[in-house]
């Protein structure tokens, strides 16, 4: 049975539920980049030089409007699944083109956990200053509990603690697929600290025999990648498309 988002979202009405450069695509689809936004993003983006460049390369970008405080709750996952399915249905022509997910901050969390929760396994995932440990992140700042309660307090879920663990990359190491992960994190990030998040996550992933590369950046704050690092980050993403 189709989920509610699957019943509503179609290739024709995509732009109501995500930003996408799909209308700009003028060649065969080579791949899909799923970009997850951070907390508080109000949505409704328009085409940028970057998204136009991606379209020229045959790459569709999907930027789900999944909610400013979603923290990859079940609704956010279903919406994202429906968007991905609609894009593949219309533009992939039956081909299994690669999907790469990426995002920063809360979007970074989404990029790391979507490979576990989503309907389509990505070829790779990249995250910029992600929250990796939701169990601790819940009480890391005064403002955070209300966001998590909004995301997960809607009922039908297990206890909040169990829900946080289920969506916390740090607690799902064994379920992470065997794909390359890249985590960039600013060492001056005071919003989401590097050591107990990206550094620890990558160390545990390596211990579990999985492929996660940690790129700590001196002097970088929250999600504020300097040009050289930004290039490395996007080169990583683009390297998965032929």
């Amino acid at each position: 049975m189709k989920t509610v988002p699957e019943q509503i979202i179609t290739p024709e009405n995509l732009s109501r539920f995500c930003y996408t450069n799909a209308p700009l695509l003028k060649r065969d689809l080579r791949g899909v980049i799923l970009t997850f936004h951070g907390r508080g993003e109000p949505g409704f983006l328009s085409h940028s030089p970057f998204s136009k460049e991606l379209a020229e390369k045959g790459l569709i970008q999907i930027f789900p409007y999944y909610g400013p405080w979603a923290w990859m709750n079940s609704g956010a996952v279903k919406i994202t699944d429906a968007l991905v399915s609609a894009v593949y249905e219309r533009w992939a022509g039956g081909k299994d083109v690669p999907l790469v997910c990426e995002g920063g901050s809360m979007g970074g969390l989404a990029a790391l956990i979507y490979p576990v929760l989503g309907c389509r396994k990505p070829a790779a995932a990249a995250a910029n200053c992600p929250a990796c440990d939701l169990v601790h992140h819940f009480s890391a700042r005064k403002d955070l509990p209300r966001y998590f309660l909004c995301a997960y307090g809607g009922g039908g879920e297990a206890s909040l603690q169990e829900t946080l663990k289920r969506r916390s990359p740090m607690h799902r190491i064994n379920d992470m697929p065997d794909i390359p992960f890249l985590l960039v994190h600013g060492l001056s990030d005071r919003v989401i600290e590097a050591a107990p998040n990206s550094e620890r996550f990558c160390a545990l992933m390596e211990q579990a025999g999985k492929n996660a590369r940690y790129v700590p950046v001196e002097g970088m704050g929250h999600c504020d990648m300097p040009p050289g690092v930004s290039k490395e980050y996007y080169d990583f993403i683009l390297s998965f498309f032929e």
């Binding site: 700042r141 989401i192 107990p196 620890r200 390596e206």
Partner: protein, 276 residues
């Protein structure tokens, strides 16, 4: 001369015999009760005035291997005010970590139950040097929320410390032998400096020595204090021309008053001089 040797032998015996220490073997847990808890921690619980009005968890510094067999003036004054002191006996270099925090909580729980101290009784953490580190990170790894944290010349950055003093590596490895994550990561995820957002939101008091011979320690303490202040915590910071952990009388009085005020009890008329 014979008396000297006898005395030294006695000291050696006292140092080697006796107290079990944290971390304990998990299999021991069910055998720990109030009757034998003093093998794992000093406590003034037997003399504390009831009802208990506060709890002070006091963490020792690196190298401490002794036991506290007599109630000190500090402990007696706390007891008089209705404050239970708990001084866990850690391993010689037991740096605070998740497992150790759980075990300290276990000991605290046993004493709390015996004293019938409900969860509403305020708890403070304090310590010097490695004990200062423990006081800071205990709040990260435990479920107990302190009403204040007091740290005297604390070690706040194990990673930087090891770089400046490679001889500390062995101590660190002993403390964290339960993990096989990359070493630099282990040091960082157990250092207050890298866990600002996880340190409990509470009031902090720091003592710092301008002449502290431990490289970088006073500077790092200042940085941590500043970051906590920026985060919105109330931070009292006292520095002076002292070395490592040897607080002046003024600093000691400030420390004691801070502790008593935060526990909501009256300080004694003549506060004891030792902060311990």
């Amino acid at each position: 001369m014979h008396q000297l040797f006898f005395f030294m032998a006695l000291l050696l015996f006292a140092a080697s015999a006796g107290a079990a220490r944290l971390p304990f073997d998990p299999n021991e847990a069910e055998n720990i009760s109030y009757e034998n808890v003093r093998e794992y921690a000093y406590t003034n619980a037997d003399i504390v005035k009831k009802p208990v009005r506060g709890i002070y968890i006091n963490f020792h510094g690196a190298g401490f291997t002794g036991t506290i067999d007599e109630d000190t003036p500090f402990a007696k004054a706390l007891a008089e005010a209705g404050v239970a002191e708990i001084f866990p006996y850690g391993d010689r270099y037991c740096l605070m970590n998740e497992k150790l925090a759980e075990q300290v909580e276990y000991i605290v729980d046993i004493i709390r139950k015996e004293l019938k101290a409900p969860d509403s009784v305020p708890v403070a953490f304090g310590g010097g040097s490695m004990g200062g580190l423990a006081a800071l990170t205990f709040g990260v790894f435990s479920n107990i929320k302190p009403v204040c944290v007091l740290a005297n010349c604390p070690n706040t950055d194990l990673y930087a410390r090891e770089k400046l003093r490679p001889e500390t590596a062995e101590q660190h490895r002993r403390a964290f032998r339960h993990t096989d994550l990359p070493w630099d990561t282990v040091l960082r995820i157990h250092s207050p400096r890298y866990l600002i957002n996880r340190l409990p939101e509470t009031d902090y008091l720091f003592l710092s020595g301008d002449n502290d011979p431990v490289p970088g320690l006073s500077r790092d303490t200042e940085i941590l204090a500043r970051l906590l202040k920026k985060r919105g915590d109330r931070v009292a910071f006292y520095s002076g021309p002292i070395g490592h952990c040897n607080a002046t009388e003024g600093m000691t009085l400030a420390w004691n008053r801070f502790l008593y005020e935060h526990l909501g009890v009256d300080a004694p008329d003549n506060p004891y001089k030792s902060w311990r």
